[in-house]
């Protein structure tokens, strides 16, 4: 498994969030999550301009095996979606923490980030799940 980048925060449901300039948070799923799902074949993206609530489902990733809701780690407005995934959903399998990002949100409440797990806490969660 690839190392968890130190600049990310996580939801227990395996979404990652990366705070960028201007209060924009980029969102994807963890490398662990893509491994569990297997080959991704379809991603249903939100629309730019959609209002999202932290903890609410706003995208869907589907592997051959199963469909899985993607929850937004923060509240705000969707400002960008990863159009590449429409034709190449496997990008998430190949680079979950980079090219495989799913959408970006302009945060409404900066404190939303503080409620998320840091990389060590997320790594611990994965440890516990493995036992």
């Amino acid at each position: 498994m690839s190392e968890i980048p130190g600049d990310l925060k996580f939801l227990k449901s395996h979404e990652w969030a990366r705070l960028e300039d201007g209060g924009v948070v980029r969102v994807g799923i963890s490398d662990h999550a893509q491994g569990q799902l297997g080959d991704l074949v379809y991603v249903e993206l939100p629309a730019v301009g959609d209002a999202v609530q932290s903890g609410n489902a706003c995208a869907v990733v589907e592997s051959v095996k199963a469909a899985s809701d993607i929850y937004s780690p923060v509240s705000g407005t969707v400002v960008e979606v990863n159009e590449i995934l429409a034709d190449k959903p496997e990008t998430i399998n190949e680079d979950a923490y980079g090219e495989g990002w799913i959408f970006a949100v302009k945060m409404a409440n900066p404190e939303d980030m503080e409620a998320l797990l840091d990389p060590d806490a997320y790594a611990e969660l994965l440890e516990e799940d493995a036992h």
Binding site: G38, D39, V41, Y42, E44, V60, E62, V64, K65, A67, A86, N93
Partner: protein, 367 residues
């Protein structure tokens, strides 16, 4: 604790992701399920199917027994080694299981039935066999490996014992040959050519490694599921069960209403045919992006039905499914996916055979 096959530790050493499959701890895949799928369509893959149940039937009354037990007619099996696909029905015509029956000798037939239905199948077979003086032997000491793909037979034959090599390569589709406990059948569940090889569990690990060395890729049950659905093959428990007759499950071709044969479920099937079969199974292709899944609601001109087996077809790059819907011309059909109604195309399975999309599967009908 789930049951395990003799190859369990081999799967784990290969890095397989293991899942509970009908009470068995089985590999769903060893890496990319889609790559495993393409390996079978384009070259050769192998599956541990040792969870399948092998039942040998012996006795002078065995043919008469099978004429009574099975909805398809073993009268079609005239040459030793020939195989037949059939449903085993209850008195009301519901499918207890689907199986393959091999004619091996005048007083010796072999059944291969599903793993998840093993106990009820054995109970049913034994109960009905008693009046025919047929012995019923279950063989848990046998393992089974399916090798499938355009190059599977030649690669597998290279590691078969010399005595079986020529005979195996000479097999016609849906027939088998044997030597001692080693049993080679030209059958499968993928829509590709290949063998299903039954052998003693004590020999299975070494044989698996030889097959791998011969260039056959280990594949999991995940790929097996997308391959068999593309090939238009039913999965028991998902596409039919004891609440479904073969006529409602796209299996009318497996029912032989031949003159004077009194098989279990026959009168119920004949009554259903007289009164009209209320439901039908159809194939669906989703031309839009997305995946068809078990349980999705299907809307047709004749009413509502549901998706049975549904998946993403790696060969077609589209969602495909079987659905059970009310009888009659379904008209324009749509499937509800996460609250949205999405149009789908009704097709006649199979979707894929021998590596290629079947006629009419990829051509969108203008309407």
């Amino acid at each position: 604790m789930p049951e395990t096959t003799v190859l369990n530790s081999v799967h784990r050493a290969l890095g397989a992701r293991m899942v509970d499959f009908g009470g068995w701890d089985m590999p769903i895949g060893y890496g990319s399920q889609i790559e495993e799928h393409h390996a079978v369509r384009g070259d050769a893959g192998m599956f541990d199917v040792s969870h399948m149940t092998v039942v040998d039937l012996r006795g002078s009354g065995v043919r008469a027994f099978l004429r009574h037990l099975l909805a398809n007619s073993v009268d079609k099996l005239g040459v030793a080694g020939k195989a037949l696909y059939s449903c085993m029905l209850d008195a009301s015509g519901g499918v207890i299981d689907d199986l393959i029956v091999y004619f091996l000798d005048d007083d010796y037939f072999r059944l291969v039935v599903n793993a998840a239905t093993r106990d009820k199948d054995l109970e049913w077979i034994r109960k009905n066999a008693s009046s025919f003086h047929v012995t019923v032997e279950h063989h848990p000491e046998l393992a089974m490996i399916a090798v499938q793909g355009p190059n599977a037979r030649s690669k597998a034959a290279s590691v078969l014992p010399v005595v079986l090599r020529e005979r195996s390569l000479a097999l016609k589709p849906f027939s088998a040959t044997r030597e001692g406990m080693l049993f080679v059948a030209r059958t499968g569940y993928t829509g590709e050519d290949g063998f299903e090889i039954t052998l003693p569990v004590s020999e299975a690990v070494a044989f698996w490694r030889q097959l791998q060395d011969a260039g056959i890729r280990p594949c999991g049950l995940g790929a097996r599921d997308t391959l068999r659905l593309e090939a238009g093959m039913n999965l028991y428990g998902q596409d039919m069960d004891d609440q479904t007759t073969p006529f409602e499950a796209g299996l009318a071709w497996t029912v032989s209403l031949d003159e004077g044969r009194d098989f279990i479920g026959r009168s119920a099937l004949e009554a259903q045919r007289r009164n009209g079969v209320p439901r039908q199974m159809i194939g669906l292709v989703l031309d839009e992006k997305g995946v068809l899944r078990h349980g999705q609601v299907v809307h047709t001109a004749c009413g509502v039905g549901e998706v049975l087996s549904g998946t993403f077809s790696p060969t077609l790059g589209k969602g495909i499914a079987f659905a059970r819907v009310p009888a009659g011309d379904p008209g324009a059909v749509s499937v509800e996916i996460r609250g949205k109604s999405v149009p789908v195309r009704v097709v006649k399975p199979p979707f894929v055979r021998n590596g290629q999309p079947c006629a009419g599967i990829l051509i969108a009908v203008q309407g």
